[in-house]
């Protein structure tokens, strides 16, 4: 290609006025063997662009593979739910047992108190009984 045409294209290129076809021409020229002495300083630029285009994404890291992750995520959520439910059920149960024990002791104390009073009452009843007997004797 004529050096004059390349100079024109380069001028347009640096003004960002070249179209895709013109840039393809430049890329082809600079990747070829016949680069004029005066254009050599620009060659690394176009060689670099071509090399960059060849770079490929590395393989996916296995621990982050997207295909399995959603499933694992749900399994871990389910496991967490089961764990939390289990622990809180156990706590609920032991709390209920404690409450029941307290209630039992309270009821027992109340019944003891009641029975003590009842026994007192029963003693009085005996007095009442003997009083009644005495009265009956009088009215007989």
């Amino acid at each position: 290609m004529e050096p004059m045409k390349i100079n024109q294209l380069l001028d347009k290129y640096f003004e960002a006025q070249t179209n895709t076809a013109e840039e393809a021409e430049l890329k082809a020229y600079f990747s070829g063997q016949k680069v004029a002495e005066e254009h050599l300083p620009y060659q690394p630029l176009f060689v670099h662009f071509a090399e960059q285009k060849k770079m490929e994404a590395p393989e996916w890291k296995p621990q982050r593979a997207g295909k399995v992750r959603p499933l694992y995520r749900w399994v871990s959520v389910a496991a967490a739910v089961v764990l939390v439910a289990g622990v809180s059920w156990q706590q609920y149960q032991s709390a209920r047992q404690q409450k029941a024990e307290i209630a039992y002791h309270q009821a027992k104390d109340a019944l003891n108190l009641l029975s003590a009073h009842f026994n007192n009452g029963a003693k009085e009843m005996q007095h009442l009984q003997s009083f009644e007997k005495a009265v009956n004797k009088i009215f007989e």
């Binding site: 640096f14 050599l40 300083p41 620009y42 690394p44 060689v47 662009f49 960059q52 770079m55 590395p58």
Partner: protein
Amino acid sequence: MEITMRPNEFTELIHPFKDKVFRLAKRLLISTEEAQDAAQDVMMKLWTKKDQLVQYDNLEAFAMTVTKNHCLDRLKSKQASQLSLVHSNFTEPHVSLDRQLEAEDAVSHVEKMMQNLPGQQRMIVQLRDVEGYEYDEIAQMLDMNETAIRVALSRARKTLRDELIKKTPLWNL
């Protein structure tokens, strides 16, 4: 009935642009490791939206936009956490007797010059000069108008040219 996409269908769908996503991420984040993480994050984002992807008329442009936004967010959070952006300095031009060696060195020198361009210019050079996208596609990806893209691209290309000419005074004169 709901249409669900199978993993292998998804892999086929992203195949045409997965390397381009990685290259744009690398252009912005520079580190290969981080670019790989970013590319995988982008694919995960697409996977979570997999049942809507068929609606996009230009899925590739959408993927590139997602990549750009994701990488810029990463850079922002890096700056916020006081981690310095990976930024390499120019190596001083040195005289080599072997022209072939010097040419190879010049190519890696271009990479260093690219890394010193502002982020937006870097993206535009990547999308136009490396990937060969049309201006209207780049406009869609970067949410910019075509004139602004040409202005930034011209500025970036001239910066690269000036550095190259500085680097090779002996060849040019």
